[in-house]
Symmetry: C2
Subunit: 358 residues, 2 copies
C-alpha cells in the first residue's frame, strides 16, 4: 500500500437489491492534514454491517442517508496518527464511524447532529486484553444492542422463553447467550444445518429452527410450546409475522433490525407484520431502539458486564476477518446471503502495522 | 313483549365481511331459574361494539371465539330479578357480558377463565346521577380504554401531539378529549364532513383530517408539523401505516383496535403496517392492552376521574340508542360502515320498565 494515498470508496449510486458493481467507485486522494480541533486517523479495521444497506437508500432514517459522492459510512477501529485535538493523542486507538477509507479526519464526534454516534477511546478494551476487533463486535455496535435490547428494553426475567432470529449473526449470537446466562430458555432461528449446529454448540441455544427447512409456524408450535415471552428480531418479514402468532400475554418484541427487508427499504413498501394485532390480544409491546442512545449513560456498565461474561466463558463470539479494503464492496453482500461465518470485518492495515499499533 | 319468553340471538355461522342475514338465528326459549350461586338478570340495554366481529371469527383471541349455537356475546346493563348469590341482590343494576338476549343467568363473573371481564355493580354510576347507559360507553368499556391507553400505556405528557383515528367513535371521541384536557394538541381522523365538524365542535380537536377526502400522508405533514408523539389507533390498516411515517423519537403507538381489519380477521392476512421499522429508527413503542386488566386495581380511580371531568364539562359523549333487541343484527353493521352517530346501544326493555328499574 502506498502510504501517501488515501483510498476511499465513494457511493456512486443507490443500489436496488444487494450492493452491485456500480454502487461504489474507488477514489485515490491525498491524505488530509488535521486542522485545529481535529485529528488524523489511520483506519485499521472496518466493520461491515446490514445497516449499510439502510444508509444507502434515498431516505433519511435514524441517520441521514449517505449522499452520492460521499465516502461510504462504516464503523472502524483506527489509530490516531496526528492530532490537534485536546482529548485524542497520537497512538490512541478509537472506534467510530470513520468510513470505507484508509485515513479519516475526525473531530472526535463522528455523527452528532442527531446525537447518535461518538468516537470512543478503546483503552478499556486494550487494558482488558481483548482483541481490538471486539470493539466492532461483541464489545461494540453488535454485542451491546443485544444487551440493551434484552436488559433495558425487554427487561428480561429468569425463566422466560426468548426467541432470537438471525440467531447466528453478530447480534443474535450474543442475544442468545445473554438470554441464556440470565436463566432463560433460548430458541434460535437461522438458515441451514451448519448455522443451526453452531447455534447449539457455540451459542448454547436450547432449541433451534432452520427456517430454510422448516415451516416457521409449525416449528414455533413445537419449539416454543409455552409461547414466546421475548422475541429479539433481527430479520423482520415473515419471521416477525410468525413469531407474533406465538407470543404470550405481556410479551416484548424487540425490533433490532430487519435484514430480510433492507434491500428494498425506501424503494418499495416493506412486508408489514400482518399478525400485529397480537399486540392487542396479548397486551404485548413491540419496541425499537438505537444503541447510541445508551452509550453515554451506560456504556461503562455494559462493557464491564460483557467483559466479565466473556472471561467467565459465558459469552463467545465469532469473527470473519477479510484482508484488504478493496474487498469490502463484494464481501458485504455475504451478510444478505447469510454466508458470513461470524462478525464480518475488513482488515485494512497489514498485520505488521496492526501489531505496531497496539 | 312476552315476559315468559327469553329471546336469544344465537350465532348461526361465522360471517365473512359484515354481519349478514344468516349470521344469527332468533331462538325463543324459556327463562331459566338461577341455581345456588347464580342470579337471573333482565337485560335492559345491549352495547354493540366492533369487537363483536373479532369474537365471531373462528379464532380465539383475547377471549375465546363465540361458538356456533352460542348466544351472541355482548356487554349489557341489566337488573337482577332473582338471586341465589350472596353479593347480588334483587334490584341491583349490573354491567357485564350478558349477551344478545332478554334474560341471562350469571354467576357474578361473566368471563373469568382468562381473567378478563367481571360483573360490575353500577351503584356508583347511579349515585353520581349519570344515565346507566354510560356504563356501556364513557364510564365503561369504550371510555375507560381511552383513559388506560393514554395514561397507563402512553404515559401522556402536557404539550405532546396526540393523533387519534376513529376520532368520532365511542373510544376515539373520549381519547381526544382526555388528551386535550391533559394539555396536548389533538388531531383527529374521521370520515366525512359531518363527523369532522363533530370532532371540532363537540370533542374539541385542534385539527381534523377527513380520510375520505384527504391523502393521509400529506394531511399528516400539514396537520402534525411537529410530528406525532402519541398515536391512539382504533382503525389499523393504511391509517396506522401513514401515522408510523410521521412519529417522533420516543413515540408511543397505542393499539386499541383495528376496525378497518376486523371483517377479515382470521380469514385472510391483515394488512400489516409496512412502516413498522419507524419503531426502530424512532426508538418508538407500539403496544396493545385490554381494559379488563386494569379493572380490579384501577376502576375506582378511573371512574372518579372520568366523573369529575364529565361534571367539569371537559368530557362529553354521544349515544345512539336504538329500541328493540330484534334490531341488533342489522344495526351493528353501522359500526363498520361508519354510520353510527354515537355509541351504539340497543334498548332491550321498554321505557317504563327501565324507569321502574332505577
Amino acid at each position: 500500500m502506498n502510504k501517501t494515498v488515501n483510498r476511499q470508496f465513494l457511493l456512486a449510486t443507490y443500489p436496488t437489491g444487494e450492493f452491485g458493481k456500480g454502487t461504489f467507485t474507488l477514489h485515490e486522494g491525498s491524505i488530509k492534514k488535521p486542522r485545529r480541533g481535529e485529528f488524523l486517523l489511520r483506519n485499521l479495521f472496518l466493520s461491515l454491517d446490514p445497516a449499510a444497506r439502510l444508509w444507502t437508500t434515498p431516505v433519511d432514517t435514524y441517520m441521514d442517508r449517505v449522499h452520492i459522492g460521499d465516502v461510504m459510512r462504516g464503523f472502524t477501529v483506527s489509530r490516531v496518527v496526528e492530532s490537534r485535538h485536546p482529548k485524542f493523542k497520537v497512538g490512541d486507538l478509537v472506534q467510530g464511524l470513520n468510513g470505507w477509507q484508509d485515513y479519516a479526519i475526525s473531530k472526535g464526534v463522528n455523527y452528532n447532529d442527531k446525537g447518535l454516534v461518538d468516537t470512543w477511546n478503546l483503552s478499556n478494551i486494550v487494558r482488558a486484553g481483548m482483541p481490538i476487533t471486539t470493539a466492532l463486535s461483541v464489545l461494540g455496535h453488535t454485542g451491546l444492542p443485544a444487551y440493551v435490547g434484552l436488559l433495558n428494553i425487554a427487561q428480561i426475567e429468569r425463566g422466560q422463553t426468548v426467541l432470537v432470529s438471525g440467531a447466528a449473526g453478530a447480534v443474535g449470537s450474543i442475544a442468545g447467550q445473554i438470554a441464556k446466562l440470565m436463566g432463560c430458555r433460548t430458541v434460535g432461528i437461522a438458515g441451514g444445518p451448519k448455522k443451526c449446529r453452531t447455534l447449539r454448540e457455540s451459542f448454547g441455544y436450547d432449541a433451534v429452527i432452520d427456517y430454510k427447512k422448516e415451516n416457521l409456524d409449525r416449528a414455533l408450535t413445537r419449539k416454543c410450546p409455552e409461547g414466546i415471552d421475548i422475541y429479539f428480531d433481527n430479520v423482520g418479514g415473515e419471521t416477525l409475522d410468525a413469531a407474533l402468532a406465538h407470543i404470550n400475554i405481556g410479551a416484548r418484541i424487540i425490533i433490532c433490525g430487519a435484514i430480510s427487508q433492507y434491500a428494498n427499504f425506501g424503494q418499495a413498501p416493506l412486508a408489514g407484520p400482518s399478525n400485529y394485532l397480537s399486540l392487542l390480544t396479548m397486551r404485548a409491546r413491540m419496541e425499537g431502539f438505537i444503541l447510541s442512545d445508551y452509550y453515554i449513560k451506560e456504556r461503562k456498565k455494559m462493557e464491564s458486564d460483557m467483559l466479565r461474561w466473556i472471561k467467565q466463558g459465558k459469552i463467545t463470539y465469532h469473527h470473519e476477518i477479510v484482508k484488504g479494503l478493496e474487498n469490502a464492496p463484494k464481501i458485504i453482500n455475504k451478510l444478505f446471503q447469510g454466508k458470513n461465518k461470524g462478525k464480518l470485518i475488513i482488515q485494512i492495515a497489514d498485520d505488521e502495522e496492526i501489531a505496531n499499533s497496539l
